[in-house]
């Protein structure tokens, strides 16, 4: 059953909420445009799949693409190209100039990366990593594609993906001496998991992990034995046209594989029709992997597992048993009813009543501001909000890499070393019960977030000329009408409405703020910081209006706006989405 859909026109607040979650963050124009749409109309735009592929990254050595052509150039080290590739990905997330659904797709790519983690350092090859990234992009919008494009087949493809074969040692898993690394993470992290986090399973026997057993891990490793990397990229997957790993049939364990009662005692055997003289062939091995993925995915728990992850990524980290039995179960049904395609599940979720205000009268069921932004969300969202651009990654690639390099370092200091998470399980914020996204916040990380905001505005002051920061006067003029700009209080509220996730019934009057999303005290603090610290004029609010209307002393105005943006964005509120 689809979830109950949100009815009616979204309005700017829900539109901004939807855009923050579905994409890497809205521009002010997008908030206004989407505000007049219904949820269904908004989803259609957000998932418009008639969009171009991203332009390929450039090798600074040659000035040309290298990920497809393999033209590495003479001097550039492989590590530099790795870095270039990751900067290119960050650049895609920050790019506000593309159609909105371009960002929806990049966000799903980001979800897949958080789910199927890889560390670039261990993969050690930018082309290999690029092909994985492109695999995610092909599977992000899967609704209108052939039936083969669905999450189940992505599980098979990722099992054969060169980057994954390297990262989890699948390329070293041979008959007689299996390497279990990938087999274990396939079960635990990618496909079926360990059940609802935080629920208390009954006592399990040694080696029984509720949804699978230790023996199943080892048996799965045998099914997966014999894969090896092909970094000549000559082995092509026929569905995606992307390179994949190959099969070393001599290293494949061709015996029967008996799984436990957790999988209904499934027996996986090579298909005799695919064998050659009784020996394994590439087809027979891949067929066994398909059987394995089919066996795992046919468990109800597998559909619940991926839907919980989608829910936590897009809505809120707390999944109770009640939620599991209602929303998550419905999502899982949608997944199964749509041939295991992911896109219909996300679309249905993002247009549901539940995604906005589950119970209209109870704020405790609101989902606004329930997620702590990842450093990538924070960085990309800020760039997009202010319409900031890096240099063109094709025509001005050297400057582009310098600029994104700075941002990437800042993200690292905020706790997200992109494509190099500390753990095999990925960024802690996406998997660790019970704190989840709270793992993005520590004294260090929070300080570096505020420092990032501060640096954005310093860039404009010429202290770090590599990235042009926002021109706040221009931004304000373009974003808000003249009357709003001229009234300091109206302007503060307008900024808040575009930046903060919760902002209903705003007022500067503490006598009437009982039903407001922010206290009047808070608003007055922003006003204080905006115009009174330091206080330049006898009547700062009147003087603000005069300067704005008369376009005089715009350097003062710019300074005040930068101060306002800093106090608004170096806040807990701005860390939420």
């Amino acid at each position: 059953m689809p979830l109950t859909a949100y009815q009616g026109v979204l309005g700017p607040s829900r539109a901004a909420h939807l855009l923050r979650r579905a994409t890497f963050g809205p521009t002010i124009t997008q908030i206004n445009d989407f505000g007049s749409l219904t949820a269904q109309e908004a989803i259609a735009l957000l998932f418009d799949d008639q969009i171009p592929d991203p332009e390929l990254p450039i090798n600074p050595e040659t000035g040309l693409d290298w990920v497809i052509t393999g033209e590495l150039g003479a001097e550039v080290g492989l590590r530099d190209l790795n870095n270039n590739l990751i900067m290119w990905m960050i650049g895609l997330a920050c790019d506000y100039t593309k159609p909105v659904s371009f960002s929806t797709r990049e966000k799903i790519v980001n979800f897949f990366h958080s789910h199927f983690t890889t560390k670039q350092d261990k993969v050690g090859n930018s082309r290999t990593l690029y092909f994985q990234n492109e695999l995610f992009r092909q599977f992000a919008f899967d609704k209108n594609k052939l039936p083969e494009f669905n999450f189940k087949s992505l599980l098979t493809k990722i099992s054969l993906d060169n980057a994954m074969l390297r990262f989890l040692d699948g390329g070293q898993n041979v008959k007689g001496s299996p390497n279990e690394n990938y087999g274990r993470e396939l079960m635990e992290l990618f496909s079926i998991g360990r059940g609802l986090e935080g629920s208390f399973p009954t006592d399990l026997a040694q080696g029984d992990y509720l949804n699978y057993t230790e023996q199943d891990v080892q048996t799965a490793a045998r099914v997966l034995s014999g894969l090896k990397l092909d970094e000549s990229y000559l082995t092509i997957d026929l569905d995606t046209n992307l390179p994949r790993g190959q099969v070393d049939t001599g290293a494949h364990d061709n015996e029967d594989k008996q799984f436990s009662n957790r999988f209904n005692n499934t027996l996986i055997s090579p298909d005799p029709a695919l064998l050659q003289n009784g020996l394994p062939t590439e087809e027979s091995v891949i067929d066994e992997i398909n059987q394995l993925i089919e066996m795992i995915s046919s468990q109800q728990e597998s559909s619940l597992f991926i839907c919980r992850e989608l829910y936590r990524f897009y809505v809120y980290h707390e999944v109770t048993e009640e939620l599991q039995n209602t929303i998550i179960t419905e999502m899982a049904a949608t997944l199964i009813n749509n041939g295991y395609k992911i896109q219909p599940v996300i679309e249905d979720l993002l247009q549901s009543q539940h995604f906005y205000e589950a119970v209209a009268t109870d704020v405790n069921d609101d989902k606004f501001g329930a997620i702590i932004k990842s450093p990538l969300d924070l960085v990309a969202g800020t760039f997009r909000l202010f319409n900031l651009s890096f240099a063109d990654h094709i025509s001005d690639y050297e400057l582009f890499y310098t600029q994104v390099g700075t941002i990437r370092q800042q993200m690292k200091r905020m706790g997200m070393d992109y494509y190099e998470p500390f753990e095999v399980a990925g960024y802690t914020a996406y998997h660790q019960y019970p704190a989840y996204n709270r793992n993005w916040i520590s004294s260090n990380y929070l300080t570096n977030r505020y420092d990032f905001i501060s640096s954005i505005f310093m860039m404009m002051n010429g202290q770090s000329p590599e990235i042009p920061g926002p021109d706040m006067v221009e931004f304000t003029k373009k974003s808000f009408d003249m009357a709003t700009g001229a009234d300091a209080r109206e302007l503060i509220m307008a900024f808040i409405q575009s930046m903060f996730p919760v902002h209903f019934n705003l007022t500067f009057d503490s006598a009437t703020d009982d039903n407001a999303g922010l206290t009047a005290e808070r608003l007055n603090y922003f006003l204080q910081a905006f115009l009174f610290e330091p206080q330049l004029d006898a009547d700062p609010e009147a003087e603000w209006t005069n300067r704005w209307n008369g376009t005089i002393e715009m350097d003062v105005v710019e300074g005040q706006l930068v101060k306002l943006a800093n106090v608004l964005m170096q806040t807990p509120e701005y860390q939420l989405m």
Partner: protein, 573 residues
């Protein structure tokens, strides 16, 4: 302007703000003096060193008497027993056969710590139904629970809660008795081990130099709190909404960042630099990312903060956490051309040398007896190696305890190498219980009821048996360490004494070490070196002619490894 008041209201679960009719903060204030008196005797510090990824215990502590079986299970990664200068280092030849182990050849510094009575080893540490998962495993260790538990608090978080109650974190901290963070995580994270139920974690993270950190905090608009800044305090009506919960979480940490940044800078500024040189890189071949010692800087930082420029000036922080990654050695744990080289070797070297420097540093600062360090790792690795010069996820593994109060020696036996996995000999919660009881001096009842939720010292275990208290923390450090060393390194009284023609010396050493035995007279007119060479562990006898020496009083000086001894010899004619 602080927001303690609102934090109290929003973060306390249960919502009762009075105790026996008195406002809670008054109760807290009144009891602070008595609390102080009760805790002042314990100024001890625990450092948790997390080996992330699952350490291969069998290549850290190599079985000696079972060596052939060890070799046959993991021939492609086995550390040689003899015949090369990179063979295992026998830890202690006085151990009984079933406990005899050798250290990885890059763990020489650990051997020195052992010989000085500053290292204890516990074999076969695990938990029932160890599940071989990295992140679940780590969470289980951090929360201090079992395989089926999902606590939202960590064992250190609960310990700190009990220690400081009725004061409640974060509202009642910092205060005049406790100006410092209750716990510090080196690096930037906020691990589950420090979490408290319904509360922000009781730790703060510290990435590096506290001075530059405090400067940065000072410079940022987001931490300015003059005037009427409610700093994001949401309207009360939103406190239980998802938004309210997340924003209160961030606010709590923002507040603590500001509180503690200046304090740590102050302590740091007053502290003196290390007089000890810490190791920087691994001297042999290893992948580039494994070369740098990741612990040295962090351990140095801890030593400085604990010192703070003089007695009583350092931080009173009870627990520190630091971590070292790279233990998930499914492939290429060792180099294919030499099983003693590679990633794991470098890790062993880093831990051993950094911990040796740290102990020396603490000693030089007069802090050594305050500090206990414990390693943890989410699981051990399989007994058999795999085909890719690595090891897959296993269960049990050894734990290391460092410090003069760590009971020297090896607890437990070499694992049964015929099995797939290293069997559990001790539940890690037994070790926690021993540390809580014997190191932090927490009451048994508190440990059982409020921290570990089971009696891991004397209660029933999960298999129908009974736990026994583990003797892993010394009660009297001077006596026990001396006895330990004396047992391993000593010179027996020479004989005959008085002597006329010749004298015989018997001594014992327990490490490859330089041995020096010098006989001299009381006035420095005569001196003769009898032994001066590097010897391997064992018992030795040396006979020296004295028939040419005039009668009188002589002294023989013996130096070997950690000991120096002088004794009298009388020569008569």
């Amino acid at each position: 302007m602080k927001r303690r008041e609102f934090l109290r209201n929003t973060l306390l679960t249960g919502g009762s703000l009075t105790l026996g009719g008195f406002p809670l903060n008054l109760v807290a204030q009144e009891s602070q003096l008595s609390k102080l008196a009760a805790t002042s005797s314990n100024d001890r510090v625990l450092i948790i060193l997390q080996l992330h990824g699952g350490n291969d215990g069998l290549n850290s502590l190599i079985p000696i008497d079972e060596y052939d079986q060890y070799y046959s299970r993991r021939a492609n990664i086995a550390i040689p027993k003899t015949g090369t200068n990179r063979a295992l280092i026998e830890l202690d030849s006085t151990l009984p056969s079933e406990a005899k182990v050798g250290l990885h050849p890059d763990m020489g510094a650990m051997k020195q710590l052992y010989d000085r009575g500053r290292l204890g080893v516990i074999q076969g540490v695990s938990y029932a139904n160890n599940n071989g998962s990295h992140f679940r495993g780590r969470d289980i260790w951090f929360m201090g629970g079992g395989a089926n538990d999902y606590f939202s608090s960590g064992w250190i978080g609960r310990y700190l809660q009990q220690t400081y109650k009725p004061q409640i974190y974060p509202d009642d901290f910092p205060n005049t008795e406790m100006e410092d963070p209750l716990a510090i995580e080196l690096g930037s994270d906020v691990s589950l081990v420090f979490h408290q139920n319904g509360n922000i974690p009781s730790s703060i993270s510290l990435g590096g130099n506290p001075e530059s950190f405090a400067d940065l905090v000072d410079s940022l608009e987001g931490f300015v709190d003059e005037g009427v800044d409610p700093r994001g305090k949401p309207p009360v009506a939103l406190n239980n909404s998802p938004y309210g919960k997340e924003i209160n979480w961030i606010l709590g940490l923002e507040d603590k960042t500001e509180d503690y940044a200046q304090r740590l800078r102050k302590v740091w500024d007053a502290s003196s630099e290390s007089s000890v040189t810490y190791p920087e890189t691994y001297p042999f071949n290893a992948p580039k990312n494994s070369k740098r010692n990741p612990l040295s800087g962090q351990l140095q930082l801890i030593a400085r903060l604990l010192e703070g420029g003089g007695a009583g000036q350092g931080v009173k922080t009870k627990v520190f956490l630091l971590r070292i990654g790279g233990f998930d050695t499914h492939a290429d744990q060792v180099e294919n051309y030499d099983p003693t080289m590679g990633v794991h070797a470098a890790q062993m070297y880093h831990i051993s040398t950094a911990m040796k420097a740290f102990q020396d540093d603490l000693k030089a600062r007069g802090l050594e007896e305050k500090v206990l360090t414990m390693t943890t790792s989410e699981f051990g690795r399989r007994i058999g190696s795999n085909g890719s010069y690595g090891t897959d996820h296993g269960t049990g593994a050894p734990m290391f305890l460092f410090g003069p109060f760590a009971k020297s020696g090896v607890l437990g036996k070499v694992p049964n190498l015929n099995l797939n996995n290293v069997e559990m000999q001790y539940d890690f919660k037994q070790i926690y219980a021993a540390i809580l009881k014997d190191w932090f001096e927490v009451e048994d009842a508190t440990i059982q009821n409020d921290i570990l939720f089971r009696d891991y010292r004397n209660g029933n275990n999960e298999n129908g048996g009974v736990y026994e208290p583990l003797d892993i923390i010394d009660s009297d450090v001077i006596t026990s360490v001396n006895e330990f060393i004396k047992d391993k390194f000593h010179m027996k009284p020479c004989y005959p004494n008085p002597a006329t023609d010749r004298v015989t010396f018997n001594y014992k050493i327990n490490a490859f070490t330089s041995v020096r035995l010098v006989l001299s007279d009381m006035f420095g007119r005569y001196s003769n070196i009898i032994v001066d060479e590097i010897k391997k562990p064992g018992e030795y006898q040396v006979t020296f002619p004295v028939n040419n020496l005039p009668a009188g009083q002589y002294i023989y000086n013996f130096q070997a490894g950690p000991i120096k001894e002088s004794n009298k010899l009388t020569i008569i004619k």
